[in-house]
Amino acid sequence: MSHTTTVTTFADEVKAIPGGENLELCYACGTCVSKCMIQQKVEPDYNPRRLLRMVMMGMREEAFQSPTTWMCSECDLCYPACPQEIHISKVIGAVKKLAVEAGYTSPLIPVAVDETLCSGCGICVMVCPYQAPSLFEKEVDGKTDRFSQVDPNKCMGCGTCVAACPLGAISREGVSNAEIALQISDMEKAPPVLTVFICDWSLRVDDDLTILENYPEELVNVVHIPCTGRIDPQHALMALDSGIQGVLVCGCKPGECHFKRGNHVATCKMSLLDTMLGQMALPQDNVRFIKIGTQDRGRIKHEIEDMLDTLGVEKEAA
Protein backbone atom coordinates (compact mmCIF):
# COMPACT_ATOMS: atom_id res chain seq x y z
CA MET A 1 0.00 0.00 0.00
CA SER A 2 1.30 3.40 -0.79
CA HIS A 3 0.30 6.53 1.06
CA THR A 4 -0.22 9.84 -0.58
CA THR A 5 2.12 12.09 1.29
CA THR A 6 1.34 15.77 1.38
CA VAL A 7 4.21 17.97 2.35
CA THR A 8 2.98 20.08 5.24
CA THR A 9 5.03 23.17 5.86
CA PHE A 10 5.47 24.79 9.26
CA ALA A 11 3.36 27.68 7.98
CA ASP A 12 0.58 25.23 7.05
CA GLU A 13 0.65 23.80 10.57
CA VAL A 14 0.33 27.24 12.12
CA LYS A 15 -2.44 28.20 9.70
CA ALA A 16 -4.35 25.04 10.57
CA ILE A 17 -4.71 26.20 14.19
CA PRO A 18 -7.65 28.58 14.76
CA GLY A 19 -6.18 32.07 14.95
CA GLY A 20 -3.17 31.17 12.83
CA GLU A 21 -4.91 31.34 9.49
CA ASN A 22 -4.08 34.99 8.81
CA LEU A 23 -0.35 34.42 8.99
CA GLU A 24 0.38 35.10 5.35
CA LEU A 25 -1.40 38.45 5.30
CA CYS A 26 1.66 39.91 7.04
CA TYR A 27 3.85 41.98 4.75
CA ALA A 28 6.33 42.72 7.55
CA CYS A 29 5.75 46.46 7.95
CA GLY A 30 6.73 46.31 11.63
CA THR A 31 3.90 48.48 12.99
CA CYS A 32 3.23 45.74 15.56
CA VAL A 33 6.79 46.03 16.86
CA SER A 34 6.43 49.76 17.35
CA LYS A 35 3.32 49.19 19.49
CA CYS A 36 4.75 46.37 21.57
CA MET A 37 5.50 47.12 25.22
CA ILE A 38 7.54 43.94 25.64
CA GLN A 39 9.90 45.02 22.89
CA GLN A 40 10.19 48.51 24.43
CA LYS A 41 10.47 47.60 28.09
CA VAL A 42 11.79 44.09 28.52
CA GLU A 43 13.22 42.29 25.55
CA PRO A 44 14.76 44.15 22.59
CA ASP A 45 14.80 40.87 20.65
CA TYR A 46 11.05 40.61 20.95
CA ASN A 47 9.66 40.99 17.46
CA PRO A 48 6.28 39.70 16.21
CA ARG A 49 7.07 40.67 12.64
CA ARG A 50 10.20 38.57 12.70
CA LEU A 51 8.40 35.61 14.27
CA LEU A 52 5.73 35.60 11.58
CA ARG A 53 8.46 35.77 8.97
CA MET A 54 10.31 32.85 10.60
CA VAL A 55 7.14 30.77 10.43
CA MET A 56 6.65 31.53 6.76
CA MET A 57 10.27 30.61 6.10
CA GLY A 58 9.89 27.29 7.91
CA MET A 59 12.28 28.17 10.74
CA ARG A 60 10.56 25.87 13.20
CA GLU A 61 13.21 25.49 15.93
CA GLU A 62 14.12 29.18 15.83
CA ALA A 63 10.45 30.13 16.17
CA PHE A 64 9.96 27.76 19.11
CA GLN A 65 12.97 29.27 20.87
CA SER A 66 12.10 32.88 20.15
CA PRO A 67 11.10 35.00 23.19
CA THR A 68 8.27 36.34 21.04
CA THR A 69 6.56 32.97 21.10
CA TRP A 70 6.50 32.86 24.90
CA MET A 71 6.25 36.42 26.12
CA CYS A 72 3.19 37.65 24.24
CA SER A 73 0.53 38.31 26.88
CA GLU A 74 -2.24 38.98 24.35
CA CYS A 75 -2.57 42.63 25.38
CA ASP A 76 -3.44 43.24 21.74
CA LEU A 77 -2.08 46.78 21.55
CA CYS A 78 -0.71 45.72 18.14
CA TYR A 79 -3.98 44.31 16.83
CA PRO A 80 -5.80 47.58 16.06
CA ALA A 81 -2.58 49.02 14.61
CA CYS A 82 -1.96 46.26 12.08
CA PRO A 83 -2.82 47.57 8.59
CA GLN A 84 -3.60 44.00 7.54
CA GLU A 85 -5.89 43.51 10.56
CA ILE A 86 -4.03 40.40 11.61
CA HIS A 87 -4.86 39.30 15.14
CA ILE A 88 -1.15 38.84 15.80
CA SER A 89 -1.44 37.43 19.34
CA LYS A 90 -3.61 34.62 17.93
CA VAL A 91 -0.95 33.74 15.38
CA ILE A 92 1.72 33.79 18.10
CA GLY A 93 -0.63 31.65 20.21
CA ALA A 94 -0.76 29.08 17.40
CA VAL A 95 3.04 28.97 17.27
CA LYS A 96 3.17 28.58 21.05
CA LYS A 97 0.69 25.70 20.91
CA LEU A 98 2.94 23.86 18.45
CA ALA A 99 6.00 24.68 20.56
CA VAL A 100 4.38 23.17 23.66
CA GLU A 101 3.35 20.10 21.65
CA ALA A 102 6.98 19.78 20.52
CA GLY A 103 8.10 19.74 24.16
CA TYR A 104 9.34 23.28 24.55
CA THR A 105 8.56 25.06 27.83
CA SER A 106 7.92 28.66 28.77
CA PRO A 107 10.93 30.61 30.06
CA LEU A 108 8.64 32.81 32.21
CA ILE A 109 8.41 32.29 35.96
CA PRO A 110 4.92 30.95 36.65
CA VAL A 111 2.94 31.22 39.87
CA ALA A 112 3.24 28.26 42.23
CA VAL A 113 0.58 26.53 44.34
CA ASP A 114 1.27 25.49 47.93
CA GLU A 115 -1.04 22.53 48.40
CA THR A 116 -0.77 22.70 52.17
CA LEU A 117 -2.61 26.02 51.96
CA CYS A 118 -4.88 25.42 48.94
CA SER A 119 -8.57 24.81 49.70
CA GLY A 120 -9.45 23.91 46.11
CA CYS A 121 -12.01 26.75 45.99
CA GLY A 122 -11.40 27.27 42.28
CA ILE A 123 -11.30 31.08 42.48
CA CYS A 124 -7.96 31.09 40.59
CA VAL A 125 -9.50 28.91 37.87
CA MET A 126 -12.26 31.45 37.33
CA VAL A 127 -10.22 34.68 37.49
CA CYS A 128 -7.16 33.80 35.38
CA PRO A 129 -7.09 35.64 32.04
CA TYR A 130 -5.11 32.76 30.51
CA GLN A 131 -6.90 29.73 31.93
CA ALA A 132 -3.62 28.52 33.43
CA PRO A 133 -4.96 27.07 36.72
CA SER A 134 -7.17 24.01 36.95
CA LEU A 135 -8.42 21.82 39.77
CA PHE A 136 -7.39 18.21 40.26
CA GLU A 137 -8.22 15.59 42.84
CA LYS A 138 -5.90 13.34 44.75
CA GLU A 139 -5.93 11.11 47.80
CA VAL A 140 -4.68 12.70 51.01
CA ASP A 141 -4.78 10.57 54.17
CA GLY A 142 -7.27 8.22 52.54
CA LYS A 143 -9.62 11.00 51.52
CA THR A 144 -10.12 12.60 48.13
CA ASP A 145 -9.06 16.24 48.29
CA ARG A 146 -9.10 18.94 45.65
CA PHE A 147 -6.24 21.28 44.77
CA SER A 148 -5.29 23.84 42.20
CA GLN A 149 -2.47 23.30 39.72
CA VAL A 150 -1.02 25.77 37.26
CA ASP A 151 0.06 25.05 33.69
CA PRO A 152 3.45 26.83 33.58
CA ASN A 153 3.21 27.19 29.81
CA LYS A 154 -0.04 29.15 30.06
CA CYS A 155 0.80 31.30 33.11
CA MET A 156 1.98 34.80 32.18
CA GLY A 157 2.78 35.74 35.77
CA CYS A 158 0.36 38.67 36.10
CA GLY A 159 -0.51 37.80 39.70
CA THR A 160 -4.27 38.25 39.34
CA CYS A 161 -4.77 34.82 40.90
CA VAL A 162 -2.25 35.59 43.65
CA ALA A 163 -4.41 38.51 44.80
CA ALA A 164 -7.64 36.59 44.38
CA CYS A 165 -6.45 33.44 46.17
CA PRO A 166 -8.17 33.70 49.55
CA LEU A 167 -5.62 31.73 51.54
CA GLY A 168 -2.35 32.88 50.01
CA ALA A 169 -1.86 29.42 48.50
CA ILE A 170 -0.75 30.82 45.14
CA SER A 171 2.27 33.02 45.02
CA ARG A 172 4.76 34.36 42.57
CA GLU A 173 8.41 34.97 43.27
CA GLY A 174 8.87 38.58 44.36
CA VAL A 175 5.20 39.37 44.87
CA SER A 176 4.02 36.82 47.44
CA ASN A 177 1.85 38.20 50.24
CA ALA A 178 4.78 38.05 52.64
CA GLU A 179 7.13 39.85 50.27
CA ILE A 180 4.62 42.63 49.60
CA ALA A 181 3.88 43.00 53.31
CA LEU A 182 7.62 43.43 53.93
CA GLN A 183 7.85 46.11 51.27
CA ILE A 184 4.86 47.99 52.68
CA SER A 185 6.10 48.29 56.18
CA ASP A 186 9.67 48.24 57.39
CA MET A 187 9.40 48.08 61.17
CA GLU A 188 12.90 49.53 61.47
CA LYS A 189 11.98 52.82 59.82
CA ALA A 190 9.32 55.48 60.26
CA PRO A 191 6.49 54.93 57.76
CA PRO A 192 6.66 56.95 54.53
CA VAL A 193 3.89 59.44 53.74
CA LEU A 194 2.73 57.70 50.60
CA THR A 195 2.94 54.16 49.26
CA VAL A 196 2.69 53.76 45.50
CA PHE A 197 1.77 50.34 44.12
CA ILE A 198 3.00 50.55 40.57
CA CYS A 199 2.18 48.16 37.76
CA ASP A 200 5.39 47.20 35.97
CA TRP A 201 3.80 48.16 32.65
CA SER A 202 2.00 51.40 33.44
CA LEU A 203 4.96 53.76 33.10
CA ARG A 204 6.02 53.55 29.49
CA VAL A 205 9.16 55.70 29.67
CA ASP A 206 12.20 55.43 31.90
CA ASP A 207 11.99 59.14 32.79
CA ASP A 208 8.72 58.52 34.62
CA LEU A 209 10.18 55.62 36.56
CA THR A 210 13.17 57.78 37.49
CA ILE A 211 10.84 60.50 38.79
CA LEU A 212 9.09 57.90 40.92
CA GLU A 213 12.26 56.32 42.26
CA ASN A 214 13.82 59.71 43.05
CA TYR A 215 11.34 60.69 45.72
CA PRO A 216 12.99 60.39 49.13
CA GLU A 217 12.05 57.11 50.79
CA GLU A 218 10.63 58.85 53.84
CA LEU A 219 8.14 60.53 51.50
CA VAL A 220 7.24 57.93 48.87
CA ASN A 221 7.64 54.18 49.08
CA VAL A 222 7.32 52.32 45.78
CA VAL A 223 6.03 48.75 45.62
CA HIS A 224 6.39 47.15 42.20
CA ILE A 225 3.71 44.70 41.11
CA PRO A 226 3.45 42.88 37.76
CA CYS A 227 -0.07 44.21 37.13
CA THR A 228 -2.73 45.98 39.18
CA GLY A 229 -4.60 42.68 39.00
CA ARG A 230 -2.14 41.74 41.79
CA ILE A 231 -3.44 44.48 44.10
CA ASP A 232 -5.13 43.14 47.20
CA PRO A 233 -7.26 45.64 49.16
CA GLN A 234 -5.80 44.02 52.28
CA HIS A 235 -2.42 45.51 51.34
CA ALA A 236 -3.87 49.01 50.98
CA LEU A 237 -5.41 48.73 54.46
CA MET A 238 -2.24 47.23 55.93
CA ALA A 239 -0.31 50.20 54.57
CA LEU A 240 -2.69 52.71 56.16
CA ASP A 241 -2.66 50.69 59.38
CA SER A 242 1.14 50.90 59.55
CA GLY A 243 0.96 54.69 59.63
CA ILE A 244 1.30 55.43 55.92
CA GLN A 245 -1.05 58.32 55.13
CA GLY A 246 -1.93 57.61 51.53
CA VAL A 247 -2.03 54.74 49.05
CA LEU A 248 -1.78 55.31 45.32
CA VAL A 249 -2.38 52.36 43.02
CA CYS A 250 -1.13 53.06 39.55
CA GLY A 251 -2.20 50.91 36.60
CA CYS A 252 -2.92 51.13 32.90
CA LYS A 253 -5.71 52.85 31.01
CA PRO A 254 -8.74 50.73 30.01
CA GLY A 255 -7.84 48.76 26.89
CA GLU A 256 -4.12 48.96 27.61
CA CYS A 257 -3.68 46.30 30.31
CA HIS A 258 -0.71 44.09 29.55
CA PHE A 259 -2.57 41.13 31.00
CA LYS A 260 -5.98 41.61 29.38
CA ARG A 261 -8.10 42.36 32.43
CA GLY A 262 -5.88 43.17 35.43
CA ASN A 263 -6.67 46.90 35.45
CA HIS A 264 -10.43 46.20 35.28
CA VAL A 265 -10.13 43.71 38.13
CA ALA A 266 -8.26 46.37 40.11
CA THR A 267 -11.02 48.87 39.30
CA CYS A 268 -13.57 46.49 40.83
CA LYS A 269 -11.49 45.74 43.92
CA MET A 270 -10.50 49.35 44.59
CA SER A 271 -14.07 50.48 44.00
CA LEU A 272 -15.33 47.99 46.59
CA LEU A 273 -12.68 49.19 49.03
CA ASP A 274 -13.69 52.79 48.35
CA THR A 275 -17.35 51.98 49.03
CA MET A 276 -16.44 50.23 52.27
CA LEU A 277 -14.26 53.13 53.45
CA GLY A 278 -17.26 55.37 52.75
CA GLN A 279 -19.57 53.08 54.70
CA MET A 280 -17.16 53.33 57.63
CA ALA A 281 -17.13 57.15 57.32
CA LEU A 282 -13.34 57.00 56.80
CA PRO A 283 -11.49 59.36 54.44
CA GLN A 284 -11.67 58.06 50.85
CA ASP A 285 -9.45 60.53 49.07
CA ASN A 286 -6.21 59.09 50.48
CA VAL A 287 -6.65 55.77 48.67
CA ARG A 288 -6.60 56.27 44.92
CA PHE A 289 -6.46 54.18 41.79
CA ILE A 290 -5.16 55.96 38.72
CA LYS A 291 -4.96 54.59 35.20
CA ILE A 292 -2.09 55.89 33.14
CA GLY A 293 -2.31 55.67 29.36
CA THR A 294 0.45 55.12 26.82
CA GLN A 295 0.25 58.83 25.96
CA ASP A 296 0.35 60.06 29.58
CA ARG A 297 4.06 60.78 29.87
CA GLY A 298 4.90 62.76 32.99
CA ARG A 299 1.48 62.28 34.56
CA ILE A 300 2.79 60.19 37.47
CA LYS A 301 4.58 63.25 38.86
CA HIS A 302 1.37 65.31 38.88
CA GLU A 303 -0.59 62.50 40.47
CA ILE A 304 1.93 62.09 43.27
CA GLU A 305 2.22 65.82 43.89
CA ASP A 306 -1.56 66.10 43.99
CA MET A 307 -1.78 63.25 46.43
CA LEU A 308 0.94 64.76 48.64
CA ASP A 309 -0.95 68.07 48.53
CA THR A 310 -4.11 66.30 49.65
CA LEU A 311 -2.16 64.68 52.48
CA GLY A 312 -0.88 68.12 53.48
CA VAL A 313 2.78 67.48 52.76
CA GLU A 314 5.14 70.24 51.68
CA LYS A 315 6.37 69.50 48.20
CA GLU A 316 10.02 68.60 47.87
CA ALA A 317 12.11 68.90 44.78
CA ALA A 318 12.03 65.58 43.04
Binding site: C121, V125, M126, P166, R261, V265, K269, L272, T275, Q279
Partner: protein, 322 residues
Protein backbone atom coordinates in the same frame (compact mmCIF):
# COMPACT_ATOMS: atom_id res chain seq x y z
CA UNK B 1 -7.92 12.80 93.35
CA UNK B 2 -7.54 15.99 91.39
CA UNK B 3 -10.43 18.40 91.79
CA UNK B 4 -12.78 18.99 88.90
CA UNK B 5 -11.94 21.90 86.55
CA UNK B 6 -13.96 25.01 87.31
CA UNK B 7 -15.76 26.43 84.29
CA UNK B 8 -17.55 29.76 83.82
CA UNK B 9 -19.82 31.01 81.05
CA UNK B 10 -20.72 34.63 80.52
CA UNK B 11 -22.53 36.65 77.88
CA UNK B 12 -21.77 40.27 77.15
CA UNK B 13 -23.16 42.03 74.04
CA UNK B 14 -24.66 39.03 72.27
CA UNK B 15 -27.95 37.40 71.40
CA UNK B 16 -27.43 34.42 73.70
CA UNK B 17 -27.20 31.93 70.88
CA UNK B 18 -23.74 30.75 71.94
CA UNK B 19 -25.13 29.56 75.26
CA UNK B 20 -28.12 27.94 73.56
CA UNK B 21 -25.52 26.05 71.54
CA UNK B 22 -23.95 24.80 74.80
CA UNK B 23 -27.35 23.53 75.94
CA UNK B 24 -27.55 21.57 72.69
CA UNK B 25 -25.18 19.15 74.41
CA UNK B 26 -28.46 17.86 75.90
CA UNK B 27 -27.84 14.91 78.20
CA UNK B 28 -24.15 15.50 77.52
CA UNK B 29 -24.47 18.45 79.91
CA UNK B 30 -25.28 16.03 82.70
CA UNK B 31 -22.13 14.05 81.91
CA UNK B 32 -20.18 17.28 81.71
CA UNK B 33 -21.41 18.48 85.09
CA UNK B 34 -19.99 15.29 86.59
CA UNK B 35 -16.57 16.09 85.20
CA UNK B 36 -16.44 19.86 85.70
CA UNK B 37 -17.75 22.39 88.20
CA UNK B 38 -19.79 25.12 86.56
CA UNK B 39 -19.12 27.99 88.92
CA UNK B 40 -20.73 30.84 86.98
CA UNK B 41 -23.37 30.77 84.23
CA UNK B 42 -25.92 33.54 84.68
CA UNK B 43 -27.92 32.56 81.61
CA UNK B 44 -28.61 29.08 82.95
CA UNK B 45 -28.44 29.29 86.74
CA UNK B 46 -28.78 31.82 89.52
CA UNK B 47 -25.34 33.35 89.89
CA UNK B 48 -24.51 36.94 90.86
CA UNK B 49 -21.50 39.06 89.96
CA UNK B 50 -20.63 39.08 93.67
CA UNK B 51 -20.19 35.31 93.53
CA UNK B 52 -17.33 35.93 91.11
CA UNK B 53 -15.95 38.89 93.05
CA UNK B 54 -15.65 36.63 96.12
CA UNK B 55 -13.59 34.02 94.25
CA UNK B 56 -9.82 33.89 94.51
CA UNK B 57 -7.84 35.21 91.55
CA UNK B 58 -7.35 32.48 88.93
CA UNK B 59 -9.84 30.26 90.72
CA UNK B 60 -11.78 29.60 87.52
CA UNK B 61 -9.92 27.23 85.23
CA UNK B 62 -11.59 28.17 81.97
CA UNK B 63 -13.99 31.02 81.23
CA UNK B 64 -16.05 30.87 78.05
CA UNK B 65 -16.85 34.50 77.36
CA UNK B 66 -19.34 35.21 74.59
CA UNK B 67 -20.54 38.55 73.33
CA UNK B 68 -18.86 41.76 72.25
CA UNK B 69 -17.87 44.71 74.44
CA UNK B 70 -20.57 47.32 73.86
CA UNK B 71 -20.79 49.07 77.23
CA UNK B 72 -18.98 49.62 80.50
CA UNK B 73 -20.67 46.64 82.19
CA UNK B 74 -19.41 44.27 79.47
CA UNK B 75 -15.89 45.55 79.96
CA UNK B 76 -16.03 45.53 83.77
CA UNK B 77 -17.12 41.89 83.83
CA UNK B 78 -14.53 40.99 81.18
CA UNK B 79 -11.81 42.38 83.47
CA UNK B 80 -13.31 40.67 86.51
CA UNK B 81 -13.52 37.27 84.80
CA UNK B 82 -10.06 37.70 83.38
CA UNK B 83 -8.68 38.26 86.86
CA UNK B 84 -10.51 35.24 88.23
CA UNK B 85 -9.69 32.87 85.33
CA UNK B 86 -6.59 30.93 84.38
CA UNK B 87 -7.73 30.61 80.77
CA UNK B 88 -9.99 32.97 78.86
CA UNK B 89 -11.76 31.71 75.73
CA UNK B 90 -13.37 34.20 73.35
CA UNK B 91 -16.41 32.08 72.64
CA UNK B 92 -18.38 32.79 69.49
CA UNK B 93 -18.18 35.43 66.76
CA UNK B 94 -19.08 38.46 68.89
CA UNK B 95 -16.37 37.80 71.42
CA UNK B 96 -13.89 36.66 68.74
CA UNK B 97 -14.42 39.44 66.17
CA UNK B 98 -17.19 41.77 67.39
CA UNK B 99 -19.87 39.78 65.57
CA UNK B 100 -23.16 41.23 64.38
CA UNK B 101 -23.11 44.00 67.04
CA UNK B 102 -19.80 45.12 65.48
CA UNK B 103 -21.67 46.23 62.35
CA UNK B 104 -22.66 49.26 64.45
CA UNK B 105 -19.11 50.53 63.96
CA UNK B 106 -20.25 51.84 60.57
CA UNK B 107 -22.35 54.46 62.36
CA UNK B 108 -21.86 57.11 65.00
CA UNK B 109 -23.61 56.57 68.28
CA UNK B 110 -26.04 59.48 67.89
CA UNK B 111 -27.44 58.20 64.59
CA UNK B 112 -27.73 54.72 66.11
CA UNK B 113 -29.68 56.06 69.07
CA UNK B 114 -31.87 58.13 66.78
CA UNK B 115 -32.73 55.01 64.85
CA UNK B 116 -33.34 52.84 67.89
CA UNK B 117 -35.18 55.33 70.08
CA UNK B 118 -36.75 57.82 67.64
CA UNK B 119 -37.30 56.64 64.08
CA UNK B 120 -37.63 52.86 64.20
CA UNK B 121 -40.90 52.00 62.41
CA UNK B 122 -41.89 49.60 65.18
CA UNK B 123 -41.67 52.36 67.78
CA UNK B 124 -44.77 54.01 69.23
CA UNK B 125 -43.40 56.53 71.66
CA UNK B 126 -43.56 60.27 71.13
CA UNK B 127 -41.82 61.21 74.38
CA UNK B 128 -38.35 61.19 72.85
CA UNK B 129 -36.91 59.50 75.92
CA UNK B 130 -33.33 58.28 75.77
CA UNK B 131 -31.74 56.05 78.40
CA UNK B 132 -29.15 57.96 80.41
CA UNK B 133 -26.12 56.63 82.26
CA UNK B 134 -27.32 58.49 85.34
CA UNK B 135 -30.96 59.44 86.11
CA UNK B 136 -31.92 61.50 89.15
CA UNK B 137 -35.03 60.26 90.92
CA UNK B 138 -36.61 61.55 94.14
CA UNK B 139 -35.23 58.48 95.87
CA UNK B 140 -31.72 59.10 94.56
CA UNK B 141 -29.64 58.39 91.45
CA UNK B 142 -30.13 55.31 89.33
CA UNK B 143 -27.45 54.28 86.90
CA UNK B 144 -27.05 52.27 83.71
CA UNK B 145 -23.84 51.06 82.12
CA UNK B 146 -22.33 53.60 79.74
CA UNK B 147 -22.77 52.83 76.05
CA UNK B 148 -19.41 52.94 74.25
CA UNK B 149 -18.94 54.87 71.01
CA UNK B 150 -17.98 51.66 69.24
CA UNK B 151 -18.10 47.90 69.62
CA UNK B 152 -14.94 46.09 70.69
CA UNK B 153 -14.02 42.42 70.60
CA UNK B 154 -12.88 40.70 73.77
CA UNK B 155 -9.15 40.64 73.02
CA UNK B 156 -9.22 44.44 72.70
CA UNK B 157 -9.93 44.80 76.41
CA UNK B 158 -8.36 41.74 78.08
CA UNK B 159 -5.79 39.06 77.27
CA UNK B 160 -7.36 36.03 75.61
CA UNK B 161 -5.79 32.57 75.47
CA UNK B 162 -8.05 30.93 72.86
CA UNK B 163 -10.53 31.93 70.21
CA UNK B 164 -13.49 29.70 69.45
CA UNK B 165 -15.36 31.06 66.45
CA UNK B 166 -18.91 30.70 65.23
CA UNK B 167 -22.31 32.30 65.32
CA UNK B 168 -22.84 30.19 67.28
CA UNK B 169 -19.98 27.71 67.77
CA UNK B 170 -21.59 24.44 66.68
CA UNK B 171 -22.31 21.85 69.33
CA UNK B 172 -20.03 19.20 67.82
CA UNK B 173 -17.08 21.58 68.17
CA UNK B 174 -18.12 22.52 71.71
CA UNK B 175 -18.17 18.82 72.64
CA UNK B 176 -14.76 18.28 71.01
CA UNK B 177 -13.26 21.28 72.82
CA UNK B 178 -14.57 20.07 76.20
CA UNK B 179 -13.08 16.66 75.51
CA UNK B 180 -9.69 18.16 74.75
CA UNK B 181 -9.88 20.31 77.90
CA UNK B 182 -10.63 17.23 80.01
CA UNK B 183 -7.74 15.38 78.42
CA UNK B 184 -5.49 18.41 78.97
CA UNK B 185 -4.84 18.63 75.24
CA UNK B 186 -5.31 22.31 74.47
CA UNK B 187 -3.10 23.76 71.71
CA UNK B 188 -0.50 26.52 72.21
CA UNK B 189 -1.84 29.80 73.57
CA UNK B 190 -3.26 32.17 70.96
CA UNK B 191 -4.75 29.41 68.82
CA UNK B 192 -8.17 29.28 67.25
CA UNK B 193 -9.88 26.20 68.70
CA UNK B 194 -12.94 24.25 67.61
CA UNK B 195 -12.34 25.01 63.94
CA UNK B 196 -10.20 24.13 60.90
CA UNK B 197 -7.28 26.04 59.38
CA UNK B 198 -8.50 26.18 55.79
CA UNK B 199 -11.62 27.80 54.36
CA UNK B 200 -15.21 26.64 53.95
CA UNK B 201 -14.52 25.94 50.25
CA UNK B 202 -12.16 23.16 51.36
CA UNK B 203 -15.10 21.15 52.70
CA UNK B 204 -17.84 22.44 50.38
CA UNK B 205 -18.89 19.66 48.00
CA UNK B 206 -20.47 22.00 45.45
CA UNK B 207 -19.31 22.02 41.84
CA UNK B 208 -16.74 24.78 41.32
CA UNK B 209 -16.73 27.39 38.55
CA UNK B 210 -15.49 26.75 35.03
CA UNK B 211 -12.30 28.45 33.78
CA UNK B 212 -13.06 32.04 32.91
CA UNK B 213 -16.40 32.15 34.70
CA UNK B 214 -17.34 35.77 35.48
CA UNK B 215 -20.20 37.39 37.37
CA UNK B 216 -22.40 39.78 35.37
CA UNK B 217 -24.94 40.57 38.10
CA UNK B 218 -25.01 39.92 41.84
CA UNK B 219 -28.18 38.57 43.33
CA UNK B 220 -29.30 38.07 46.90
CA UNK B 221 -30.32 34.54 47.88
CA UNK B 222 -34.05 35.32 47.88
CA UNK B 223 -33.90 36.70 44.35
CA UNK B 224 -32.84 33.49 42.66
CA UNK B 225 -33.72 29.80 42.54
CA UNK B 226 -30.47 28.37 43.88
CA UNK B 227 -29.00 25.18 42.45
CA UNK B 228 -27.99 23.10 45.50
CA UNK B 229 -25.08 21.47 43.64
CA UNK B 230 -23.26 24.52 42.30
CA UNK B 231 -20.89 27.03 43.88
CA UNK B 232 -22.97 30.05 44.96
CA UNK B 233 -20.52 32.45 43.34
CA UNK B 234 -21.19 30.85 39.96
CA UNK B 235 -24.85 31.68 40.54
CA UNK B 236 -24.04 35.36 41.18
CA UNK B 237 -24.71 35.02 44.91
CA UNK B 238 -22.04 36.26 47.30
CA UNK B 239 -20.75 33.47 49.50
CA UNK B 240 -18.09 34.30 52.10
CA UNK B 241 -16.86 30.69 52.10
CA UNK B 242 -13.58 31.45 50.25
CA UNK B 243 -12.34 33.72 53.06
CA UNK B 244 -14.04 32.02 56.02
CA UNK B 245 -12.58 29.41 58.34
CA UNK B 246 -14.17 25.98 58.11
CA UNK B 247 -15.24 23.93 61.09
CA UNK B 248 -18.93 24.77 61.24
CA UNK B 249 -19.95 21.54 59.46
CA UNK B 250 -21.48 23.71 56.69
CA UNK B 251 -25.10 23.85 57.93
CA UNK B 252 -25.80 26.97 55.82
CA UNK B 253 -24.50 25.42 52.59
CA UNK B 254 -26.42 22.23 53.31
CA UNK B 255 -29.51 24.38 53.75
CA UNK B 256 -28.78 25.90 50.32
CA UNK B 257 -27.75 29.25 51.76
CA UNK B 258 -24.35 30.85 51.13
CA UNK B 259 -21.72 31.13 53.87
CA UNK B 260 -22.15 34.36 55.82
CA UNK B 261 -18.64 34.27 57.26
CA UNK B 262 -19.31 33.65 60.97
CA UNK B 263 -16.23 31.49 61.63
CA UNK B 264 -14.05 34.48 60.76
CA UNK B 265 -10.95 34.71 58.58
CA UNK B 266 -9.19 31.42 57.74
CA UNK B 267 -5.45 31.04 58.30
CA UNK B 268 -3.45 33.31 56.01
CA UNK B 269 -6.07 36.08 55.88
CA UNK B 270 -5.31 39.37 57.61
CA UNK B 271 -8.60 41.16 56.98
CA UNK B 272 -11.63 39.10 56.04
CA UNK B 273 -13.67 41.83 54.32
CA UNK B 274 -10.80 43.27 52.29
CA UNK B 275 -9.90 39.73 51.20
CA UNK B 276 -13.50 39.15 50.13
CA UNK B 277 -13.32 42.36 48.08
CA UNK B 278 -10.15 40.97 46.47
CA UNK B 279 -11.92 37.71 45.62
CA UNK B 280 -15.24 39.16 44.45
CA UNK B 281 -13.62 42.01 42.50
CA UNK B 282 -11.60 39.53 40.44
CA UNK B 283 -14.70 37.50 39.59
CA UNK B 284 -16.61 40.38 38.01
CA UNK B 285 -17.10 40.23 34.26
CA UNK B 286 -14.69 42.77 32.76
CA UNK B 287 -15.46 42.24 29.08
CA UNK B 288 -17.37 45.51 28.91
CA UNK B 289 -15.57 48.03 31.16
CA UNK B 290 -18.50 50.43 30.78
CA UNK B 291 -20.64 48.03 32.76
CA UNK B 292 -18.34 47.55 35.77
CA UNK B 293 -20.08 50.26 37.80
CA UNK B 294 -23.46 48.75 37.07
CA UNK B 295 -22.35 45.28 38.15
CA UNK B 296 -20.72 46.67 41.31
CA UNK B 297 -23.94 48.51 42.15
CA UNK B 298 -25.69 45.15 42.46
CA UNK B 299 -23.57 44.35 45.52
CA UNK B 300 -25.80 45.56 48.32
CA UNK B 301 -23.86 46.75 51.38
CA UNK B 302 -20.31 45.48 50.68
CA UNK B 303 -18.97 46.25 54.19
CA UNK B 304 -21.93 44.58 55.88
CA UNK B 305 -21.68 41.56 53.59
CA UNK B 306 -17.92 41.00 53.59
CA UNK B 307 -17.42 41.86 57.28
CA UNK B 308 -20.75 40.61 58.57
CA UNK B 309 -19.25 39.10 61.73
CA UNK B 310 -15.87 40.77 61.75
CA UNK B 311 -16.25 44.52 61.25
CA UNK B 312 -15.12 45.40 64.79
CA UNK B 313 -12.02 43.27 64.19
CA UNK B 314 -11.28 44.87 60.81
CA UNK B 315 -8.37 47.15 59.98
CA UNK B 316 -10.93 49.83 59.04
CA UNK B 317 -12.49 49.74 62.50
CA UNK B 318 -9.04 49.99 64.05
CA UNK B 319 -8.22 52.98 61.84
CA UNK B 320 -11.47 54.68 62.77
CA UNK B 321 -11.33 54.28 66.53
CA UNK B 322 -7.65 54.30 67.41
Amino acid sequence: MASKPKIAFYWAASCGGCEISVTELGMGLVDLSEKVDIVFWPAAMDFKYDDVRLMDDKEIDICFFNGAIRNSENEEIAHLLRRKSKTMVAFGSCSHLGGIPGLANMYDIESLCQRVFDTSPSLDDSRGVRPQAVTKMPEGEITLPTLYDHVKFLAEVVDVEYYMPGCPPVVDQIRAVFESILKGELPPIGAVIGADAKSVCDVCPREKGEPGFRITEFKRPHEVQLDPNKCFLTQGVICCGPATRAGCGIPCLTGNMPCRGCYGPADGIVDQGAKMASVIGALIDTDDPEKLGKILDTIVDPAGTFYRFGLAHSIMSKMKYE
